[in-house]
Symmetry: C2
Subunit: 193 residues, 2 copies
DNA sequence: CGGAATCTTGAAAGTGTTCAAATCAAGTGG
DNA sequence: CCACTTGATTTGAACACTTTCAAGATTCCG
């Protein structure tokens, strides 16, 4: 249950047996069935979630009712509305399960306890956040400089498994185009080979 | 010289007199004249820069030679090619001064020393990085859900000073549109009032 | 099997780009 | 201070890409 999390953390810092036990106590496992919500816009995001299995997504709904997927989180990744989690403000993201999933939840109070009792975890979260920052800048760069087709090809490379498992309309939403456009792009690509 | 940095850090953590002195030793002040580079694509990013005054930008150049501005950094912000800084790989970003600027540079080795001698700084950088992550996700969301005009209006709100001081073509590059399009958007907006 | 999503396709409309030319602005050297 | 060069901005017209709207095909699942 916790082994993926242990590996994930110990890729960045080393934990003692005791610290590992302490860590486990801070997390709450939760199963989330496909299409069920972990967080809804307007609520306060009470926890950050480490994905053990399955896949979740964070998305916003614009003034016209269109969904825009900010992030997918497959296993070994984290997902949350960080701003809401940190400040206690109302969430602007919805988070739901794209597939049946299993997550480990870390509440604000638990994270505080954890950070105080295992100071090394400050370092872990710093490193994690740095990596997140790098990848979101990568995504910003793609949205500025790559065409829809290039972004789709990049998506396939980054999430080869997801491409098979989620509706195309969600990939389109992540890429910032309509499902119709993605359908046409795929048609184009299939002609090319 | 260091007072802005002190305020910046002490907004998040508290430092003793001694720690503050230690901190100062880790940073190297540097003046950068307008259009001069702090980092060029292909080099290794040796430091992260805290902006004391002026403004810098990080941008990529695509295969067609077009510039895409990933980030502006005005005073009280940081700028770097974080991926290159962390991993030692070749930078994919160029960083140059949009105006005459003054920065405080923190080298990798200095940061390491600092993090080891003042463990609280782990916490500082974690908090900083979390804030960065939140704002880059905000930008991703804008690029997915806002029109060019909306993004421009949001830009004006976020960087009211910059709008006066930098060429429009750079704002356009940041927004992901051509200078011509921005010119037309501005014309539209001026008609509206 | 039947109903509900999802995906595909076509045609028209929209948004932004491209290319080219004109205008405007700022800085330099005489 | 003016003429000149250079870069930035504006504008127009044609073009390209993406969306929108609508309809038909396909897939999924109870």
């Amino acid at each position: 249950m916790y082994s993926l999390l242990h590996t994930h953390i110990e890729r960045r810092i080393h934990l003692s047996q005791k610290e590992r036990a302490l860590l486990d106590q801070c997390f709450t496992p939760k199963k989330i069935r496909k299409h069920k919500f972990l967080l809804q816009e307007g609520d306060v995001c009470r926890h950050i979630a480490f994905v053990n299995s399955g896949c979740l997504r964070a998305y916003t709904v614009d003034h016209r009712g269109e969904e825009h997927i900010i992030q997918f989180a497959i296993e070994d990744w984290w997902i949350s509305d960080l701003n809401s989690f940190l400040t206690g403000s109302a969430a602007t993201y919805n988070i739901d399960a794209v597939q049946d999933s299993e997550v480990l939840l870390l509440e604000r109070a638990s994270r505080k306890t954890l950070l105080e009792s295992v100071p090394k975890m400050e370092r872990f979260f710093r490193l994690l956040q740095e990596a997140n920052y790098v990848s979101s800048h990568q995504r910003i760069n793609d949205s500025l400089s790559a065409s829809a087709e290039e972004r789709y090809l990049a998506f396939i490379k980054t999430y080869p498994l997801l491409v098979e498992q989620i509706p195309q309309s969600q990939i389109a939403s992540y890429l910032g185009i309509t499902p119709q456009s993605l359908s046409r792009i795929r048609k184009e690509l299939s002609h090319k080979r």
